[in-house]
């Protein structure tokens, strides 16, 4: 039996592959390498190059492997891109997941773990932790495309021999503490990634949008979850489904947050090099504070985070950025293209 990880060459997916291998699982990866890298996939995983909606590739995977469950990360996740080209997001995130689900159900795969997002919730007014029962009112096509998939999963679980866990991620950050994986994709807009790049001189500066929020220092507060803890939550979700405990939708966050300035100060403190900060006005739609109520994941999945300190998150992210430099990213890009052309 093996676990199929889609998007296993991406940021969270590559950590998931390591977590599964560490737990003794057999792992199959399906990734089209549109933003991920071949070298990011742990060597012990079996790799298929292809699209998650490609019926031929899926058929081959299901024939060549005894797939017990799918952990589905593949998808697009850049909010402004989803506003500019919503139909590509509905295709990539909703339509292709539907095709994957149909193929999986037809092949007798019963368990599905889905990477959902806190973007399925509406705008947050106060600073109360967000429960799963909060109104579902996405502010952008990215969040809407993920919510559509949640609804398809819900209805599929009611109709077919099939169950799922959808995990709604808050702000995923950090890198594998063993240095084996990290966030590699370029063009990231994620604060911790951006701040690390600035501290290492690979960006001129970091923008801070809004310094007049009703938070402890005026900047926006977010719930940063370490990617390794998140991967562990997926392992727990897999166990939950294996034990027949049924479908579940649960938040993944720590239940407390850090401000933009908290993050920037930590990066500076750990790296020792200062970088420029541009104070800019609030961006429309940004809430003062977005923090998860993750009590459901703790209770139902018996999930206990291990890396829930900002220092751990930032240190692992900085370590990865330094590692990326020593690996000479451009060479790796070359290698990626060569490997992709060799059609694994």
């Amino acid at each position: 039996m093996a676990i199929l990880v889609t998007g296993g060459a991406g940021y969270i997916g590559s950590h998931m592959v390591w977590a599964l291998l560490d737990a003794g699982e057999n792992v199959v990866v399906l990734d089209r390498l549109s933003t991920g890298f071949r070298w990011a996939i742990a060597p012990a995983a079996r790799f298929y190059l292809g699209d998650v909606a490609d019926a031929e590739v899926l058929k081959t995977i299901f024939i060549e492997n005894d797939i017990e469950a799918i952990i589905h990360f593949a998808g697009s996740a850049v909010v402004p891109a989803s506003v500019a080209d919503p139909l590509s997001y509905y295709d990539n995130n909703s339509g292709k997941t539907r095709a994957l689900m149909s193929a999986a159900i037809a092949a007798g795969v019963r368990h599905f773990v889905f990477s959902s997002t806190a973007a399925v919730y509406g705008p947050q007014k106060g600073s109360e932790p967000v429960k799963e029962t909060a109104p579902l009112n996405p502010e952008n096509p990215y969040g809407q495309s993920k919510l559509m998939t949640e609804f398809m999963l819900r209805d599929a679980a009611a109709a077919y021999d099939f169950d799922y866990v959808a995990l709604r991620y808050f702000n995923v950050a950090g890198a594998d503490p063993h240095g084996r994986a990290g966030q590699s994709t370029s063009g990231a807009t994620h604060l911790i990634k951006v701040a690390c790049e600035a501290a290492l001189g690979r960006r001129d500066s970091v923008h801070v949008y809004g310094i007049d929020y009703p938070t402890h220092d005026g900047t926006g507060v977010r719930d940063y979850i370490h990617v390794t803890d998140l991967a562990q939550a997926h392992l727990k979700a897999l166990q939950h489904l294996r034990r027949g405990k049924g479908s579940l939708v649960a938040n993944c966050g720590y239940g407390s947050g850090y401000s933009v300035l908290d993050v920037l100060n930590m990066v500076t403190r750990l790296h020792g090099h200062a970088f420029k900060i541009h104070m800019a006005p609030r961006r429309p739609g940004d809430a003062a504070s977005v923090v998860a109520d993750a009590s459901l994941a703790h209770r139902m999945l018996e999930w206990t985070p291990k890396y829930d300190s900002l220092e751990t998150i930032v240190r692992s992210a900085l370590d990865w950025e330094l590692e990326l430099i020593t690996r000479r990213v451009e060479d790796l890009h070359e290698m990626r293209r060569a490997l992709a052309a060799a059609s694994f």
Copy 2:
């Protein structure tokens, strides 16, 4: 310039084709004849046999015709089937519409009229007419699949050079007053169609689900809209878009309803033959009364219904059922298969 009608061989689509031709428009029909009939398409329309998500067929249509707007009816509409096989509904109704929209936008088609449904609303508690601002909380995958499409249209209109009108139909009934079109598909679950079939001896009986609702006679009240009035609302929607008045989501109903017994009494009175009625318990999820607030369509589309009496609706439906008999439906099925094989 021509108007592309998808699902033009179906119930509402075939009426739309006549309404467009009557208004002097050029009409192109795309239908895969999965439930519709070739003979139901007015001869003056240009017919393409194919799926709305088939890129090759769409390419041919856009090359061979100067399509100004699309009126999109093609889709699946049987609520229990959507519960049993939700992924096929999300594919047919949401995924394929996304593919059609993408192809249309790429081909420079700017206007889109979409057949949405009152099933996008949540369960109705009282008997107040439903406004467009009512909570969107579909009770079944059919309604959810239509709501997903509304969200895709909304986001597409914000991102691309594209606008749309989504019309949320209440209970569509009746047939073309000139006898040129009607509801032809078999296996219908629609009350008026079922009652007409029973009155003509083609069904043993009619079930009435729930006789203890808080309505004037204890049976459920619904807002029945004549299919010809509905087609006229689409013509008005097309004019609205042509005049550059922007995207709109509007209910289509009369704002008042008739009970199940009102309908059965009218069928009996007009046809003169009695049929058996089985009183059965309420079905879960059925509301006492569902009636549209259609003031937005009246005001924004300048839409004025002409056939809004139950007698007109039932008489036209009965006339069509009699017409269907004289046409000898089975022969027409044969013709349909022959025509389909000839690949128009």
